[in-house]
Symmetry: C2
Subunit: 283 residues, 2 copies
Amino acid sequence: MSTVRVACCQLATNVEDPEESAARTRAAIAEAVAGGAQIVVVPELSNSGYMFRAEEEARAAAVSADDPLLAGWAAEAAGGDAVVIGGFCELGMDGRVYNSLALVDPDGVQAVYRKLHLWNEENRWFVPGDQPAPVIDTRHGRIGLGICHDIDFPELPRGLALGGADLLAFPVNWPAGDPVPGGRPILHSLATTTAYLSKVFVAVCDRCGVERGAEFEGASVIAGLDGSLVAGPVEDRGEAILYADCALSEARDKRLNGYNDVFADRRADLYARALVEEREPAL
Amino acid sequence: MSTVRVACCQLATNVEDPEESAARTRAAIAEAVAGGAQIVVVPELSNSGYMFRAEEEARAAAVSADDPLLAGWAAEAAGGDAVVIGGFCELGMDGRVYNSLALVDPDGVQAVYRKLHLWNEENRWFVPGDQPAPVIDTRHGRIGLGICHDIDFPELPRGLALGGADLLAFPVNWPAGDPVPGGRPILHSLATTTAYLSKVFVAVCDRCGVERGAEFEGASVIAGLDGSLVAGPVEDRGEAILYADCALSEARDKRLNGYNDVFADRRADLYARALVEEREPAL
């Protein structure tokens, strides 16, 4: 069984210095690729930091998808035939500012996704996306994409898994101080149960550090098909690169035993229609 | 804020002695009601045990919904104006054997639900249900119902919460030996994340003990709206009654802060249609 090396680069980005944040992110991508990573995940808003004070500050840090920022990620990806997934503060062609991620490979930007579920004051500086979270068929497997608070809407990761993803990649900026049932961040329980429920790999890449008085959880982990943690957590909430060698293609076998299969056993005809919006088809 | 006392009766039922299992369950209901419980949950298959060797054995233990078994639960419920939810091995009017639960109050049986997702060899002795998991409006709040492996299909608990449930009650018989990420049973992570994601209370009532060589997890817990464990786990995997005083009506407020609401923020028009089956409407 061949494996794919997945890396999560947990970084202390800094809203006070977007350029330094972007440089730190690119350096981490380079280090992960040098470490053999074929899929590299970096945090949400890696080029801007998180704790904005006003829309103008987010706008000043925002770049378009054809900015040298993402070309730089592609150049680092080319060093190891890697795929890079990372969050960035995006200035859209429409002039709006989005909390986005890009999936980049040595050939350039392959996908941009704009966060659907904005958290708290993000609503002051970002416009939510209007397109579904995608599954991208990459050179190293099928990767489902979401950003941070998106993972709190179980329809989204479940939909990505049903859409054929082998790995779900979630760049996040997770505030510290959430309830810690059983002594660990809720984000770890979300990663492990999301993996277990759909028999899919899950890579959550968090930031760390303190920014304008707000501490971040530093809760990056990679979860395996049975809901175990195959990499992480980082013990001291500091910067770190997590690696896991994942047999991604095993995610395509949804059988649990001679009788059960996590997808085939679904009773989709008996689930609540409220899970998806019932709309009249466009005429 | 008024609270409702919820109890989970973790019991060592025994497939070798269905009558004793049923008597033990009724005694536990009586004890919980005497302890002030207004909602009492007992395990899956509480009148039969779990490790059957053949369909005939399950059939021999099965009773219909108008059996004195459930009338006995109603009599105990009347001792404290309580609601009882428990699993039972059901002989349907159609002659089939189901893995079911009943919701009973002092007036008798209010609902019977038949497990939709059968686990492993259960497929040899049970027929799966063909009706959705229900939400029942009881004298002590709205209770969403599911059985054991049903919780592994996130569409089901999410649908119950969207259907207005304040509390999700899951009678289970959970085999020991599942992966234990972070040192606790996956069932605890499922209970806490299910509660957290939909801001709903979750009561999981497991059995315990060893039956024909199979050990059960004894992982009963009650989870609160923020994903914390408000009762349990039982430390020694033995018999116990867990109690939690739950402000069930708080589950109807889905707001998280001034911007976010776990239901209003859903982007149902952008979730995968595969979550529910698209069927042609009957003509």
